[in-house]
Symmetry: C3
């Protein structure tokens, strides 16, 4: 594995899951792998779970993680080729990235979508320049369009419950939820492409009209505007808000009736409830659902460590 | 030791002091105790000494400390049960704390009082939810009402000078001092309950009328509004500002005549001068006092490391 | 080496270069030197390269670096002797520095000039108080007037190319460049005194009239207001903006014609191009120059690690 930017870099997903499960049992089993190696974790916007879990994963592998919060250090980057830098940007990615490439063995980068320029966002304009100019393996800590470490975590978590399933393929539902502000499509896009690529689930996406995701991520999944129909017989329900892809970055209609409640879940197959966190309680889903034994959001967040460790171990093994 | 939230969790104070003194001589004597363990240090408000000393104490014990400054990362928590989270809080403590409990073996948490809602503050509304929901040992890095790592440091420092005392019980005085803004009662409350529990000193508290502390912390101590009377024959003088407990969080009367000066100290028994720092020079006490050989504030701050190490070692030993 | 505040503390520059070159080949060759030692890196203003490279250098030597960003933690220091601290400063350097001296074995400090009070800046009012009150070795991470770790890096980088030179002494040119805001004279001052002390180059400084640097740093160098004349036959061209020393901290005349371009470099001896970074592209120098093979700015930045490691190793060896 050279980079880890999306499911396309994952190789064999089941092997990544299996490696993660081994690390969960024995976190320090490969401490020599990262000895003397350094990972730089560059955050262009804030993070709790991703930062902590990747830091811990790196330490478990014997690596030294160094965190750099770009915004807090007033370090605003320029990405435009040929820019005359007489404004507020203090450094061009062409100058900054190669140096990070000299200081570190692996680079973790969190970028974010503008939610304004769809083309730039969906071309991963920012992340790709880190890849282009750093010259070392880059791990996405969430980018403009996807969040692969989260999605790997999601499949690790679903996989834990597969032995309990009686169906050939459990029914996994991604349901849109209301929110207070326009969020990226990253987690949703990414979950879609991973569930599709993994191919162990029967996959349904449900959202109000107008919230259609980019077909490049969803193709193969059932899509419906009827949440009730989607939830019927569901084994896993992933709750997530996203802003419009079509009317890019906008909130079409923040229909509060889409909040997930216990009542809505009764036709499900005693479904496990998932969310990437942070979650807006009683906006996205009700306390009753989150506090029920069906919620597996804490396990999901815990698995972030093993997902990151599995990916970093693979990259370390493949370092030139 | 499961948690370290106040003197009630301290167990035998003399054993904690003795353990701290051993670490001062040999900081790395128990490096294997914390190997492979992690402490998360969560700051809901900023810190210098507490952060650095706890970080160093953890490293001395072989642990990996991970610092997380909540405010800087725009991570505002919700604490209200049943809240409809459509405002500015991005995550509920019920969701955040369990995950910290999975990522870490011990959690250090700094909270702070609102200085507005006395009942919530004095019930340790925020800290107690970290304890309730994290599921791992929690160490207070200062909370709404107390600062036990500071107080342990204070008794460690006084203990160093006990052999030089001729009295059965040296006279320890806590004197209120003027300040420029309303401060919590934490350090004062905490010093009171530790000195009382330790029971090796004759303890006097002095402050202007209106600055009475909560009796739950002070009972057993002499209290007087006459600073002159209190300072007479004093062996140790602890200088500290606090805002009103009665008229909660208010500055009753910032009487500048309460600033501690060399002249005022002349009837003392060549008293050692203590302060938790940071100190407002020539507001709380004069340069002359702080720069005199009687000031032991630097030793006090140095002992923060050994106090934290003593507590963390005990918690590590008692981990399930 | 006790402190590293300027070229005066460097001792034998060639030995420092040679030590840096050894670390570049074998970064972990002296891990036992720093084992159990701690360096505090205190930033009174933000930093990317200096922070990361010093952190990495310390880790390479087995030390534990602890970073403290003063401004982000709302920790504003008082430096005035006898100040009545009833304003916004929360702690006096006289109280803070001794404690840092107890917590750490070495202190790295980044300060910055006011660009208003020339006398205070040029007396290194702030940095010197850290030295005076901390009681441990202090390494400048850039101060009000110099940036010695950058300058050591610069001579290490030039030294790499000396074997390729045919002249007895290569021609090194420091050229002023336009910028969007008034910058310190630090990098320029420091480069001058190091190149002069190293005495392996023929050294020319060029800038518009009004940008004369303090003669204490430049004496021995050729100074000219003709950029064209300076660049003729140049082997190394160091590009840097600085504000006026004479009309202190002001921008005299931000003459855009001083931007370094490929065309201007044609009379040079195929000169290598240097810059401390961050650089304002197409303001200080053109894309064409920065993207050409003659640019050695990335190598320069990489060498920051070995410069810092060379200095820290020497200080560690000389610790009492």
């Amino acid at each position: 594995m050279t980079n880890f930017l999306s499911v396309k870099d994952a190789g064999n997903i089941n092997e990544l899951i299996s490696s993660a499960n081994n690390f969960r049992i024995n976190p320090f089993s490969q401490q020599s792998l990262g000895r003397g190696k350094r990972i730089g974790l560059i955050f262009l916007n804030p993070s709790l779970r991703t930062r902590l879990s990747t830091q811990i994963a790196a330490q478990n592998l014997g690596m030294e993680p160094v965190v750099f919060n770009a915004s807090q250090d007033g370090w605003s980057l320029e990405f435009e080729e040929g820019a005359i830098m007489n404004g507020t940007s203090v450094e061009h990615i062409k100058d900054a990235a190669p140096i990070l490439g000299r200081y570190f063995d692996i680079l973790g980068v969190r970028t974010f979508p503008s939610l304004k320029n769809k083309e730039e966002d969906y071309n991963e304009y920012v992340l790709n320049q880190f890849v282009k100019y750093s010259g070392i393996p880059v791990v996405s800590l969430e980018s403009a369009t996807v969040h692969p470490l989260q999605s790997l975590t999601d499949v690790i978590t679903i996989n834990d419950y597969l032995p309990l399933q009686t169906k050939m393929k459990p029914k996994v539902v991604l349901t849109w939820a209301p929110h207070v502000k326009p969020l990226p499509q990253c987690v949703a896009n990414s979950f879609c492409e991973w569930i599709n690529a993994w191919d162990k689930c029967d996959f349904t996406i449900t959202h109000p009209a107008g919230y259609e995701l980019d077909k490049n991520f969803t193709k193969g999944a059932h899509v419906t505007n009827s949440q009730a129909q989607a939830l019927k017989d569901a084994d896993f329900v992933y709750v997530k808000n996203w802003s419009s892809y079509r009317d890019y970055g906008k909130i079409e209609d923040n229909d509060v009736n889409w909040m997930l409640t216990k009542e809505k879940l009764s036709p499900s197959n005693n479904a496990k409830i998932m969310h990437c966190l942070p979650v807006r309680r009683n906006v996205e889903l009700s306390d009753e659902v989150l506090d029920s034994p069906n919620s597996i959001v804490t396990e999901q967040a815990s698995n972030r460590v093993w997902a990151a460790q599995s990916v970093l171990a693979q990259i370390l093994k493949d370092l030139p």
